[in-house]
């Protein structure tokens, strides 16, 4: 396995370097082939490893790469750890990444900067792989920051757009707030355990569970405070309530990026971290309670916002935020395998939804506002069916004991685990999750109905009008950069007033095969991932057998909880389905049967709608509390502190005494040099005389 894992991790890095430095010298086709080829190679090598863990033939292994840091009793190295948990992440990352690479051939076809884009994508994949193969906390942090860098570069890929730049910086800086917690967590862990090696920490954690430590003057349980600090890092990366504000803005990046980084892989790093460290978290009840509350709150909060947004990508972004909340509270109640299961299924159906949305956006000439969609069902049928599979998966459609789409198994298992856990907090999470399931179903179907049903409303879109009237002269909202050297393609459509009402004469086109193939593959995942993999993930059972051992100690497997999960009352098992049907019915009523209902609702509950539509005013709040004061303090410190006080009473004050008038400046300059040299000389003479005497 050593050779395979080295290739899996380093092939994307090499591809990124070649594509990034070769750039225009190598040209589009070569750089795209190298990066995409490397990712398909990694993906092809990942599945056998995963299969090995599924059937119990593989064992966990650590492949050393290079010594990193030795400082006193602190030491950590570059090494690649492969166990069941890593194997799950390997297939998720490499599969989605390979498909996104392929998809980008079509989606980014007209962009002048394709080598750079593909280099960033591969670089991201490398960093993410380093994160999930980490055997110590510091390498995990390396991957953590590496994906942050790639995310920053990709969000800001169209760097001429001010909004893209702002979103990129916001993503990086907000993540760094989380990283502050992560770093302090590593420092604290080292202080307590005298190691940063994950297996050693996990082995030593239970013995430390009763100890206490002082942090900022507070006396706290050691493991609780360490886990809370590390969890702050997870909150940043996984966009949990409070540190979530960067994720919706990250949609400024090209859509394939949103699918790969901001849905399937990077944002799930926090969940991965919790599962990786689950034996430690299981000794920290307070930390887990916080995880549960934050997860449940995020899952509800983000879902409410998702119901009001018009931008198709933002709806899916908030949906991601909400689904991550599910994963966190699953981990919080101790169902780590279930959290990983939802991470796994979510990666497929959310990547599918994003890439599907990208296909819609592509078809609608870069229009992202769903108010200008409608009736696209027949125009782009393949995309429609792919999105449909994704929607069925995310809303959790399925029949108990028969068959369900991916989300049916994973989300139901999360709710059942929360109920089975039995504490008040867990029940709170259960009910919050159930309401969020209703909202999930509502906003997902709202998205589908607004996009694919009803009559076309395209004519009002500026993008569409542009496409029709100016024959695609390069006015992409998404890609304003350097279109003069973009390949000029024919018009997307010919103006044709007979097309039908509301179309404005625009004829949407289905995407090319390079985009549809990834949609097809992911559709398979969205349909079958839950049904096929539920036993290994939830029950840790080896595939095709009754024996346990899939997770094999790579995460904390709570067998009693899983048994209790299966034994919950029938109504608990049906709760998610009922919520899903209710949400669906609501969406049908409001967006198909009575399309004027949403407007009336907004009119009568204006304040509530504004609050939710404006994302609970988090951005405004942070702007006033953090961003503006930071600049204000910066100016005050500079003008009043440095210039007004230190300089005024320091050097300038001295100067005013010593130096009379500016006319003396010239002589002062040379004068000081001489006096300086003189003083030194005098000092030396004094020194020598002193010693001589």
């Amino acid at each position: 396995m050593a050779t395979q894992i080295l290739i899996i991790v380093f092939a994307p890095l090499l591809a990124a370097i070649v594509a990034g430095l070769g750039n225009r010298a190598l040209g589009n086709t070569i750089t795209k082939s190298i990066t995409t080829g490397a990712l398909f190679l990694s993906a092809a090598l990942s599945w056998p490893i995963f299969w090995g863990f599924l059937n119990g033939t593989a064992t966990a292994e650590v492949v050393p790469v290079l010594q990193w840091v030795r400082s006193g009793d602190m030491s950590f190295d570059w090494a690649l750890r492969v166990d069941a948990l890593t194997a799950v992440m390997l297939v998720v990352i490499n599969t989605v990444s390979a498909l996104v690479h392929l998809y980008s051939w079509g989606y980014m076809e007209e962009d002048p900067d394709q080598p750079r884009f593909f280099a960033y994508l591969s670089l991201f994949t490398f960093a993410m792989l380093m994160l999930v193969t980490a055997d110590n906390l510091v390498q995990m942090f390396f991957g953590w920051e590496g994906v942050g860098l790639a995310s920053y570069l990709l969000i800001g890929f169209w760097f001429k757009k001010p909004s893209a730049n702002a979103a990129a910086i916001k993503a990086f800086v907000v993540n760094r707030v989380g990283d502050l917690g992560f770093m302090l967590g590593i420092f604290g862990t080292f202080l307590v355990f005298e190691t940063t090696s994950i297996p050693e920490i996990l082995a030593a954690a239970p013995a430390m569970s009763g100890s206490s430590i002082t942090f900022l003057g507070m006396r706290l349980f050691t493991i609780d405070i360490l886990c809370i600090l590390l969890f702050i890092g997870a909150m940043g990366k996984s966009a949990q309530l409070g540190l979530h504000t960067w994720l919706p803005d990250a949609m400024e990046g090209p859509t394939p990026v949103s699918a790969l980084i901001h849905a399937a892989t990077m944002v799930t790093a926090g969940v991965f971290m919790l599962c990786r460290l689950s034996p430690m978290f299981e000794t920290a009840p307070t930390a887990l309670a916080i995880v549960t509350v934050v997860g449940a709150a995020t899952c509800f909060f983000a879902a409410t916002i998702g119901t009001t947004q018009w931008d198709i990508k933002r709806v899916i972004a908030y949906s991601t935020c909400s689904q991550l909340g599910y994963m966190f509270f699953a981990a919080g109640v101790g169902a780590y395998g279930v959290a990983m299961f939802h991470l796994f299924t979510h990666a497929f159906f959310k990547a599918l939804l994003f890439l599907g949305a990208g296909s819609v956006i592509h078809a609608m000439h870069h229009e992202q506002d769903m108010r200008y969609y409608g009736g696209l069902r027949k125009a782009i049928p393949f995309t429609f069916w792919a999105m449909m599979a994704g929607t069925l998966a995310i809303t959790g459609v399925g029949v108990l004991y028969v068959f369900g789409f991916a989300g049916f198994y994973s989300k139901d298992a999360i709710l059942e685990a929360a109920w089975a856990r039995g504490t008040g907090l867990a029940h709170f999470a259960f009910w919050t999750g159930a309401i969020a399931a209703l909202l999930t179903s509502f906003y997902s179907w709202r998205l589908m109905f607004l996009t694919f049903w009803g009559k076309p409303r395209w004519i009002e879109s500026e993008h569409i009008q542009h496409a029709v009237h100016h024959d695609h002269d390069g006015s992409h909202e998404e890609a304003p950069a350097r279109l003069e050297d973009a390949s000029q393609k024919g018009p997307h459509s010919v103006p044709d007033p007979d097309e039908g009402e509301g179309t404005g004469g625009y004829r949407p086109h289905e995407s090319p095969a390079s985009m549809l193939i990834p949609l097809g593959v992911l559709t398979l995942g969205a349909v079958f991932a839950g049904y096929v993999f539920k036993y290994p993930f939830i029950d840790s059972v080896l595939i095709g057998t009754e024996t346990q051992g899939f997770w094999g100690g790579s995460l904390f497997f709570n067998e009693d909880l899983v048994n209790a999960l299966h034994a919950v009352p029938l109504w608990v098992k049906l709760t998610a389905t009922i919520a899903m049907i209710a949400g669906f019915a609501g969406a049908v009523y409001a967006y198909i049967l009575k399309p004027d209902v949403p407007g009336k609702f907004v009119a009568s509950f204006g304040a509530l709608h504004r609050f939710v539509y404006n994302k609970w005013y988090f951005d405004e709040l942070y702007d006033r509390v953090f961003v503006k004061p930071a600049f204000w303090f910066g100016r005050q410190f500079w003008k009043l502190g440095d210039i007004g006080t230190i300089d005024r009473f320091g050097p300038n004050g001295v100067a005013a005494v010593v130096q009379r008038g500016s006319a003396a400046a010239r002589s002062v300059q040379s004068g000081y040099l001489y006096s300086y040299a003189l003083i030194m000389l005098l000092g030396l003479i004094a020194a020598t005389t002193y010693v001589l005497l």
Partner: protein, 513 residues
């Protein structure tokens, strides 16, 4: 290498070059300076290759008694070796950076740089306390001239400020040195490092040295000379100022304050931590609102050097080694950032951030280098900045969680001001026509950037090369400090482990799959 006076040779080569430059002047001086600095660098590589890691603490020693106690004594340990390497590595790059930018009095300019190299090497290699003092103080004269003669419009004020601060500190330090030599009866630094000074005098001696070193580092609130000096200095002057001169302060703490006055260092640790915490937050916020690129990077230097200070006063191996690695890293990275500023300053002759924008379009390779150094500055793992920052902060956490928390906010604020700078320079639309017309980096500029970039990545991925030479010296210093080191505030107290897991569930049925 037996008996060959390599340290003296490393000083004689640039000295000879400096004298030649003074006499030739003009274009030839450039070639001479480059040749001399490259030869010195080659000697430096030889020095490193022959340095016996794990061998004697002081190697390559030379000694010539001049008069009475004062002697020409040289010798290096691992700490000095690394700082000498940093100096000789940056010097040829500085000469290249000045190649076209300096047009008046070229001979004198190059001579000033070469003199400075002599004095810097001397400072790090000196084993006699007065010899150290001479090199330490004299090294500022070329810098003073470089700012005052080849600087910007407001160079007089800047050099005046630079001089005023550094002078005040050094007078106190000199007096302290007299006292120490009288007390210990020797001016030999290795001997003084072992001399047990009484606790009472330690306090005053520590403060006297602190006055000098805190200015050099510089620590808040003695930092205001630095932004002005950087802004007015020519590019290469800034590189050396940030790259080497600031490290004199850190070196001073490692060589004098900590080993010679361990008790006073422990007593004053609170002062250092308090000033450093203020510095990290204060100067980072000031950096955020700067409109001048050099000022921004200068303020960021103050914040980074504050992390060095907390590392030094963490009283453990991680803190000390982290501080050293961060000094080396900062020398490379902030030097490189000033080079990046210099590259575009040479083209547009302004340091105002708003005059640039969208440089990624017309200068893509420049944008890559600038990004790499920006990321190294904000401590991205895999670059040198991370290793130093991480170790230093891990060190201070063991002493004070509060100081660690405040100083670690630097990673947020640092990301804020550096990315904001990068966005305004390299990203965005090309609003200024002249900026949009600038050509990408020339072969000469490639030659400057590539070695620094390679060193930054090397130090980030395999820092062992840089930690190994100093390991024994840091361990010795740590042992010396151990008796005085203040206790950490973490105060871990054992307790009876909890018997059950957090999410224990009582399940009484049979397994149901």
């Amino acid at each position: 290498m037996d008996g060959f006076p390599i340290l003296t040779t490393m000083m004689l080569v640039p000295l000879a070059g400096a004298i030649l430059c003074l006499f030739t002047g003009g274009g030839a001086a450039r070639g001479i300076a480059l040749g001399a600095t490259l030869a010195t660098f080659a000697l430096g590589v030889l020095l490193w290759a022959n340095f016996d890691i794990g061998g004697a603490q002081w190697q390559f020693t030379e000694r010539a008694d001049l008069f009475a106690g004062f002697s020409y004594a040289l010798g290096i340990d691992g700490i000095a070796l690394l700082l000498i390497m940093l100096t000789v590595f940056l010097m040829p790059i500085c000469i290249l950076a000045s190649w076209d930018a300096i047009q008046k009095r070229v001979g004198e300019y190059m001579a000033a740089f070469l003199f400075m190299e002599v004095l810097m090497i001397g400072t790090f290699a000196a084993q006699d306390i007065f010899l150290f003092y001479v090199f330490f103080e004299a090294g500022l004269i070329p810098m003073y001239l470089i700012i005052g003669v080849w600087g910007g419009d407001n160079r007089i004020y800047a050099s005046y400020k630079f001089f005023l601060y550094t002078l005040l500190g050094s007078v106190l330090m000199l007096i302290a040195m007299f006292w120490m030599v009288a007390e210990a009866g020797t001016s030999d630094i290795p001997t003084l490092m072992q001399y047990p000074f009484e606790a009472g005098p330690q306090t005053w001696l520590w403060l006297a040295f602190f006055a000098s070193f805190a200015v050099k580092i510089p620590m808040w609130p003695l930092h205001t000379w630095l932004p002005d000096a950087h802004v007015q200095a020519p590019t290469a002057g800034s590189v050396i100022l940030a790259g080497v001169l600031l490290k004199l302060g850190g070196y001073g703490f490692l060589r004098f304050s900590l080993p010679m006055f361990p008790q006073a260092s422990a007593d004053f640790a609170w002062l250092v931590l308090a000033l450093s915490m203020i510095a990290v937050v204060y100067t980072s916020l000031v950096a955020l609102v700067q409109q001048d690129m050099k000022k921004l990077i200068a303020y960021s230097s103050v914040a980074h050097m504050a992390i060095v200070m907390v590392g030094l006063f963490a009283f453990n191996v991680q803190g000390l080694e982290g501080a050293m690695v961060l000094m080396l890293s900062h020398g490379l990275v902030s030097g490189a950032l000033f080079l990046c500023v210099g590259v575009i300053y040479d083209r547009l002759h302004t340091r105002e951030i708003a005059r640039y924008g969208g440089l990624s379009v017309n200068m893509p390779y420049y944008a890559i280098f600038f990004l790499l150094f920006t990321m190294a500055s904000i401590g991205l793992p895999g670059t040198s900045g991370f290793v130093g920052e991480f170790l230093a902060l891990a060190g201070i956490y063991q002493l004070s969680t509060f100081a660690a928390l405040v100083c670690t906010t630097g990673i947020i604020l640092g990301a804020g001001y550096m990315l904001y700078l990068y966005r305004r320079v390299a990203f965005g639309a090309q609003t200024n026509e002249d900026a949009a017309a600038m050509p990408d980096i020339s072969p000469r500029e490639w030659t400057m950037m590539v070695p620094v970039a390679a060193a930054v990545l090397w130090m980030g991925v395999y820092p062992e090369s840089f930690i190994a030479p100093m390991r024994a010296d840091i361990a010795a210093l740590d042992a010396q400090l151990a008796a005085a080191a203040p206790a950490g505030d973490a105060d871990l107290a054992a307790g009876t482990p909890r018997s059950e897991i957090a999410n224990a569930v009582v399940y009484e049925g049979e397994g149901d799959h």
